[in-house]
């Protein structure tokens, strides 16, 4: 890949910005400009990569990431399934639309008690992540499925395509760019859902680590937990952006 001059400049400035941000973080901590609850960047990194804490963070990450991944996959499947259903059975669409946006309008904090009763404390994070992801994917997929072009639809009709063939060979491929964009925006949504869910009383995970560190003034632990969650979400988002670029180049 060859970059043009402005692109190189953008990249350099972006990297510079990140470095300045980390430097600022370090200096504010060093000079205690924000008080004792702002640790230096280096302190957080030292804390984070200390071998003795590998087990602690490993367990928390294992618990949270499995909830996030589970919620993401479940939300994706339900969202795509609902979109395909409302696309195939058009009369059902308004009802499914309304249900999806009503569920989305309920703040997760209000859904938590329901899930705690219905499911269990442990999987509440996964359930909220599922709902967050479901909505993003549902919206992206329903708009994507409408994107097949009229002449392609005519072609499939003349060729005598069945509904399922048309879905598989025309509607889904045409929807893929929208779906993948939805998948990208669903990643932070999954993280938010899982962390929020853990705040309502999970016994493991990064979210629990954050709340207990906050309540017990374990400042480096608090910042480390938030750092892990943010970095992981950012990496997932970055990978999804790469996938998105590939798919947009290929399918549209």
């Amino acid at each position: 890949m060859r970059l043009s001059r402005p692109q190189i400049q953008d990249l350099a400035l972006g990297v510079l910005g990140i470095l300045l941000f980390l430097l600022g973080w370090e200096l504010i901590g060093f000079y205690k400009l924000a008080g004792l609850t702002w640790p230096r960047f280096s302190t957080v990194m030292e804390y984070l990569f200390d071998p003795s804490r590998r087990g602690l963070f490993g367990r928390a990450m294992g618990a949270s990431f499995s909830m996030i991944l589970g919620g993401y996959l479940l939300g994706f499947l339900i969202g795509l399934g609902a979109a395909m259903l409302s696309y195939t059975l058009k009369p059902m669409q308004p009802g499914i639309d309304r249900l999806a946006s009503t569920i989305n309008a309920i703040p997760p904090i209000a859904l938590a008690p329901l899930f705690i009763v219905l499911l269990s404390r442990e999987v509440t994070g996964m359930a909220i992540a599922t709902i967050n992801v479901f909505f993003v994917i549902y919206v992206a997929a329903t708009s994507g499925l409408e994107k097949s072009r009229q002449n392609h639809r005519d072609l499939f009709k003349v060729l005598g395509a069945s509904k399922s063939t048309r879905m598989l060979r025309l509607d889904l491929p045409a929807a893929l760019p929208s779906i993948v964009s939805g998948m990208k925006y669903a990643t932070p949504a999954a993280f938010i859902g899982a962390i929020l869910g853990e705040w309502f009383g999970a016994s493991r995970g990064l979210g629990l680590l954050m709340v207990s560190a906050m309540q017990n003034f374990q400042i480096p632990l608090l910042w480390s937990a938030v750092f892990i969650a943010s970095a992981a979400s950012l990496i997932a988002f970055g990978l999804m952006s790469l996938l998105e670029r590939f798919v947009h180049g290929r399918f549209s």
Binding site: H152, D154, K157, V158, L159, G160, T165, R169
Partner: protein, 256 residues
Amino acid sequence: MSPETAINVDHVGMVFTLDDGTELTAVRDVDIKIGKGEFVALLGPSGCGKSTILRLVAALEEASFGRVTIEGQDPAELSRAHRLGVAFQDHALLPWLTVKDNVALPYKVAGKKVDTTRVKELLELVGLGKFAGARPSQLSGGMRQRVSIARALVLRPDVLLLDEPFGALDAVTRRHMNVELQRIWAEDEVTTLLVTHSVEEALFLADRVLVMTGRPGTVAMEMKIPFARPRDPSIQRTPEFHAMADKLTLALEPEA
């Protein structure tokens, strides 16, 4: 006309209901019979209802009056049996498939096993053997149109429907494509309905030319084209050709 009627457009009228509720009569009392293996060109000015007729034959619309049959059957039955081939002005290739896979698409849609040798032969026939693995976006407009014609023919359809397949091409490429289409068509001599704006294209390709005019459109004139096949491009410079072209052009002008 050949003795056996393949496509029968039987006194067909078509009324569209527009979004604001008003009704628009697109075509009125159109009566066309196309024999088996015959190549008919439908010529007419923009908006006279040529595409409407083609879409009726392709089972993409339902006639408001009269009836369209193909070999006695409803066109929808032919499309359900995967026996129609179609190419539009806009190539309608799927951008995510390679050229080869686009041509193989009708097999997949029909749930049949892809006959790779047939796909290959057709790609050779339209002169795109080397581009089998390319994507539509990497081809020129003329090449894409050739792919879409190959796709229309791949299942050896009973009826071939072409709606201005070369309408978006420049004049030179278009003439070249007409020569190619004639050669490809000669392989199978499948019953064909071609919709076009171009008098020369209609004369060069068809056994019979129908002129549609007016709004709502009706068939105003019919002309048999006597040139023997295979036709050489040089016939387009003969006096007969010019005389016929003048006659058709005159028929196209609305009472001028």
